[in-house]
Every structure is written in structure tokens, then in C-alpha cells.
Amino acid sequence: MADPLLLAGALLLAIAGMASLALSMEAHWEQIGRTGPPPRLLLRTLGWLGLLLSLACCLAADHVSMAALVWPMTIAAAAALVALCLSRLPERPRKPSPPPPRT
């Protein structure tokens, strides 16, 4: 394995990319406290850009056959991480929830 810095970069870029893609969805955009629709085109472009730059880092770090495995696994880990972080935020508020049942 070569250059841990490149691989760390690949992971960080993947996380940034996945976070951007997640925030381009209304449900998650509202989770971070924003109102109104998310800037979808911008966030999606940034998201895919992050993922592509992550791929570039992987290709620079290793033999192409190795990078072909490292990159999908890295973006999968990034997606899982973003999902777990989002799960700690309050859920998107919809209509006001019904009062709890009285026992």
C-alpha cells in the first residue's frame, strides 16, 4: 500500500461528496435546520465531483486493480458514515405529530 495521505484524502473527499449528495435530498436538507428546497444542482454536482476526486486519489495511490476495489469500498464506507451522522440529527419535521396517547 502506498501513500497513506492520498488514501486519507480519498476517504475525506468521499465523505464530503456523499454528504453533499445526501443534503441534496429535501429530507436531509431539512435535518440540518434549513428551510425551503435545497440547491439540488449545485449539491449534486459537488457531490459527484467529490466522488470523482476520491477516485483520482485512489488511482494515484495504488495499482489500478487495487484502486478498482479501494474506491467502491471507500465511498460505501463514506455513505454509511454520512447516514449514521444524519441519524443522530433530529428527523425532518413534517406535520405536527399527534399528542402522545394518555394511559
Binding site: 478498482a68 479501494v70 454509511a80 454520512v82 447516514a83
Partner: protein, 554 residues
């Protein structure tokens, strides 16, 4: 059978997933452990806790060690059954092999002997083996079971069920079920992209379980699919044994052509001749690899027709720098050291096959990719476990009202396969530290501990799952989580007590195999404790709401 395509695929996903899920848990869990199988070996065999070494000198160290290899009693008895006349004291030598990887401090050596009078001429070999410390040339005791590479690793593809290769077939069926479950899961999951990042742990159990099931399944979908598929491809010859049966003439013709082309003799010459310096051959091989831009260490050294005039020495490269299983084997004439042949580049199909196999077997050196593989495997376990929990949650209230016990049995089996299997695994490590060092058949006792703890977990799970009949959570989950936490902690403490290699020491020495196992054990203890407490808090709450017939929010 079903009104729509989607309904039929849902049925396949539910029932193939449920029935084969129990087997798949074992495959994924022990497969994940197999990523670090040799590190687990280091933990289990303290005498092997040193840094990996390159292949030592054959002439000075390996040859005398090879000559000490004999058949053990069990192998000799088995070989006798394949022989028409009684076996002589020393059998004629056929081949020697030595194998090492970049993660193995110790060297694996074996000696192949020929049966002089076999019943079946195609099945006339018997093997003795030796594990060597390459720093000193002294052998390690063969009774020390390599828990990682010789127990956990074969468990994941054979379930240690060798009668008629039954374990391999069950795992194969489970792998097909995994592929089916992934494809049918996609068909079922309508909002696959929109809900990619959705995980709502504060919703009621059924919803949050389904969220986690979808997350772990979708995020690592290519990983799960390709690992199941590559595993099947690796054993394709077993599942479709056509080369020995239907297509036998084609296979045999091909084999004959290969032997003729390779220039490597099939049978011993019968004339004695000494072996030239193997070290010189190894050095020549390494120079040739470097000249091709593929410098590397020796992974496998193999000598055929030992002691005969037409002996051959084959030197293979340890392919740690790429995914594809490569060998770049160079073959020498044993008596003179001249090169007979270098392995040429393989065909495209062969290359694809080697890549897919290499991707699964992971001989490469890349700690980050391995760590991601481990995480991926555990994600697969989480996917299957949440699948079980969702199945039970969805049906248990309904079954409770109808007086059916289906949900209870599934829940008990789920406990057995999730927490029970984990308890058995860690109990084996605890046993490894507790059993006396010179106990004969120590490895067999460690295996017995594993299986008996698992059976005990099964009995406990079935006994302590009655509340599911009223639509509540079985206390078995919480109790086994506590047991697991205790076992993990015990294993780390026992490692310290019996070997002195406590975490602060191994971390400061940066001896990652042992430090890593201890850290994972401690993390597991902490997570099990968290889980036990959280389940314990939910148990009465869900009981109250179950009585009212309402799913819980929060």
C-alpha cells in the same frame, strides 16, 4: 403463484433470506474474521508473536527441517486405508513445499510422500507438515491450533462439515440465496436512492430495524454481491464437477498437453542425484522478477521428485502488490540450477478468473482495503441480523394474537446465530488461554469448547424466548449480550495474564496483530454492554405497548 412480479420477489427475499440467513451469518462473520485470520493465529499461538520474515535460506535452514517431517499417526492411518499392502517405515519422498505470506511470521512447510502400492494410482500421496520459526529453524508444536487460519477461515466456506462435502454445498446454496436476496431486495425497495442515507433509530423498532437493514444492504451492495459470486466461482469445480465426469476426455487431453508443454516431468526418474543450491536458484528468480519490474519476495517454494535426477524447483512470487493471484513462477532443473521455464503471461479469461479469485482471497498488502473488507463483512452480518429482527417484529404481535409460535422459534434461532455465535467464538479464545499449554490434542479441545458453547447458547435462547409468544422481546438477547461482554473482557485479561502482552505493551511496540485483536475484543465488550442495556430498557416498554396493541414511538 403471485399476482405480481414484485410480490413473488418479495416472497423469495423473505423466505430464502430467512432460511439461508442462518448459514449466511456464519459465512459473513467468519469470513470477516478470516481477513485477519493470521493475526488471530498470532493471538492464539503466543510462540509465533514476532514480525513476518522473508523466506529463509533453503540450503542452511529449510532442507534439514524438511528431512525431519514425518506423517503423523492420523495421516498414516488414513494413508494405510488407501494402500493395498502395509506401509513401510519411511515412504518415498515426492515433493517438498514451503509457503509464507507477508502477514505470517512462521513458515508453513509440507512434505508429500508417495504410497508405494496404492489402491488408486491417481490418489497415492500423503502429506506431513511442519510450522517453522524462520529466525531459529525450530519447529512449533503442531498441536497449537491456528484458530484463525485453520478454524475460522475454513468454517466460512465449509462449516467444518466434510461428510460428502455437505458443508460446501450448504454454503453454496446460501451464497445463491445471498445473490437472490440482493436482487430481490432491489426489486422490493422502491426508494433505493432516495432512502440511501435514511436511518431513523428513534422510530419504533420495526421501522428502525428495516432502515438499518436497507442501509447495510444497499451501501455495501456491490461488496456483498461480488463476494458471494466470487466465492461461488472459486468452488465452481465442486458445484459443477464436469471435468471429472461429463467432459473427462477433454480435461485429460488438456492435462496431457499442459504437462508436455511445461517441460516439467510428471514422474520421478528413479535415478538418484543431489539437489544443487536452491538459494542460488531463488536469487536468480528474484533477479529475473526485478528485471521485469516485478521485484518481490518468495511466496511459495516447491520441489518435485526430491532426490531424483529430474527434480525440479519452482519458485513463486508473493504477489502482495496487486489484487490478481499471480505467481510469476520460475522453474529450475534441480540437479543443475538451470532455468527450465518461466511462467508466461496468462490468457484474458485466466486473468479475469485470477482477478476475481484474488479479490476474494486477499493475498495483497493493503491495510486500509482489508479494514474496509472487514467492515463490509460486518455490514453483511448486520444486514442479515436486522433481517431476522424485522421478520420477528413484523409478525410477533400477529402470532401472539393467533397463538402461533413461529415468531418465537425464529427469534430463538436468531439469538443463537447472532449473539450465540459470537459467544462461542470468544469462548474459544478464552479456552485457548485457559487450557494447559502441553495438553495433547489441545486444538481438538478448543474446537469442542466452541461447539459446546454454541449449543449451550442455542438451548439458552430457546428456553429464554417465551415472552415472544406474548409479543414481547425475549430476555435471551440481553442475557447473551452480557455474556458476550464478559467473555470479551475475560479474553483480553487472560491474554495479559498468560502471556504478559497487555494492550499498553503491544500498542507501544506497535505489534498490531495482538493489539488489534485485543482492541476489537474490548470494543465488542463495550458495544455488547451498550446493546444489553438498551435492550433491557426497551423490554418493559414494549411489553406495555404490546398489551395495548400499539407499536411504540421512540
Amino acid at each position: 403463484m403471485f399476482k405480481t412480479f414484485r410480490l413473488s420477489m418479495t416472497w423469495v427475499h423473505t423466505w430464502f433470506g430467512l432460511v439461508l440467513g442462518f448459514v449466511l451469518m456464519a459465512c459473513f462473520f467468519f469470513g470477516s474474521l478470516s481477513v485477519y485470520d493470521r493475526e488471530i493465529d498470532r493471538w492464539a499461538i503466543p510462540a509465533s508473536r514476532f514480525e513476518p520474515q522473508p523466506m529463509p535460506s533453503f540450503d542452511r535452514m529449510l532442507e534439514p527441517a524438511f528431512r525431519t517431517i514425518k506423517l503423523d499417526a492420523a495421516t498414516r492411518a488414513e494413508a494405510q486405508t488407501r494402500s493395498r499392502s502395509p506401509l513401510p517405515e519411511t515412504l518415498p519422498l515426492h515433493e517438498w513445499g514451503a509457503y509464507t505470506t507477508h502477514r505470517d511470521p512462521v513458515l508453513q512447510m509440507w512434505s508429500g510422500f508417495e504410497l508405494p502400492d496404492p489402491k488408486d494410482p491417481e490418489n497415492d500421496h500423503a502429506f506431513g507438515s511442519l510450522t517453522l520459526d524462520p529466525r531459529s529453524g525450530t519447529p512449533l508444536p503442531e498441536t497449537a491450533l491456528k484458530i484463525g487460519s485453520r478454524f475460522f477461515y475454513p468454517m466460512h466456506y465449509s462449516l467444518h462439515l466434510h461428510w460428502m462435502d455437505l458443508g460446501y454445498w450448504i454454503v453454496g446454496l446460501a451464497a445463491m440465496a445471498m445473490l437472490a436476496a440482493l436482487v430481490t431486495g432491489i426489486v422490493m425497495h422502491r426508494k433505493i436512492f432516495r432512502e440511501l442515507f435514511t436511518f431513523r433509530p428513534r422510530k419504533h423498532l420495526q421501522r428502525s430495524t428495516l432502515d438499518l437493514h436497507n442501509l447495510t444492504g444497499v451501501v455495501a451492495l456491490p461488496f456483498h454481491f461480488i463476494f458471494a459470486l466470487s466465492g461461488l466461482i472459486i468452488f465452481a469445480n465442486l458445484y459443477f464437477p464436469v471435468s471429472g465426469t461429463l467432459l473427462k476426455p477433454l480435461a485429460e487431453a488438456h492435462e496431457k498437453a499442459e504437462i508436455a508443454r511445461s517441460g516439467l516431468p510428471e514422474h520421478a526418474a528413479g535415478i538418484a542425484a543431489p539437489l544443487a543450491s536452491v538459494d542460488a536458484m531463488v536469487a536468480k528468480a528474484q533477479r529475473r522478477w526485478a528485471a521485469r519490474g516485478m521485484a518481490g519476495e518468495v511466496g511459495l517454494l516447491s520441489i518435485h521428485h526430491v532426490g531424483h535426477a529430474n527434480a525440479t524447483v519452482s519458485v513463486y512470487r508473493a504477489g502482495t502488490d496487486r489484487v490478481t493471484l499471480t505467481g510469476e513462477g520460475i522453474h529450475f532443473k534441480g540437479s543443475s540450477g538451470t532455468v527450465i521455464r518461466e511462467d508466461e503471461a496468462v490468457s484474458a479469461v485466466h486473468g479475469i478468473n485470477d482477478f476475481i479469485t484474488g479479490l476474494h482471497l486477499q493475498h495483497f498488502r493493503h491495510w486500509m482495503l482489508r479494514a474496509l473488507y472487514f467492515a463490509g463483512g460486518l455490514a453483511g452480518c448486520a444486514c442479515i441480523a436486522t433481517g431476522f429482527i424485522f421478520f420477528v417484529e413484523k409478525r410477533k404481535r400477529q402470532h401472539a394474537k393467533q397463538g402461533k409460535a413461529g415468531a418465537r422459534w425464529v427469534d430463538a434461532l436468531a439469538v443463537t446465530t447472532v449473539t450465540g455465535m459470537l459467544c462461542a467464538t470468544v469462548a474459544m479464545l478464552v479456552g485457548n488461554r485457559l487450557l494447559p499449554a502441553d495438553l495433547p490434542l489441545r486444538g481438538d479441545w478448543e474446537e469442542r469448547i466452541f461447539w459446546s458453547v454454541w449449543i449451550a447458547a442455542l438451548v439458552h435462547a430457546f428456553w429464554r424466548s417465551a415472552p415472544v409468544l406474548q409479543g414481547r422481546i425475549a430476555p435471551a438477547w440481553r442475557e447473551q449480550c452480557w455474556a458476550l461482554a464478559a467473555l470479551c473482557t475475560a479474553a483480553v485479561l487472560l491474554n495479559w495474564a498468560t502471556t504478559g502482552d497487555h494492550l499498553l505493551k503491544t500498542l507501544s511496540m506497535r505489534y498490531w496483530p495482538v493489539a488489534g485483536v485485543d482492541l476489537v475484543l474490548l470494543a465488542s465488550a463495550w458495544l455488547s454492554m451498550l446493546a444489553a442495556r438498551r435492550i433491557g430498557r426497551r423490554e418493559p416498554k414494549l411489553a406495555v405497548d404490546a398489551a395495548q396493541g400499539e407499536p411504540v414511538h421512540g
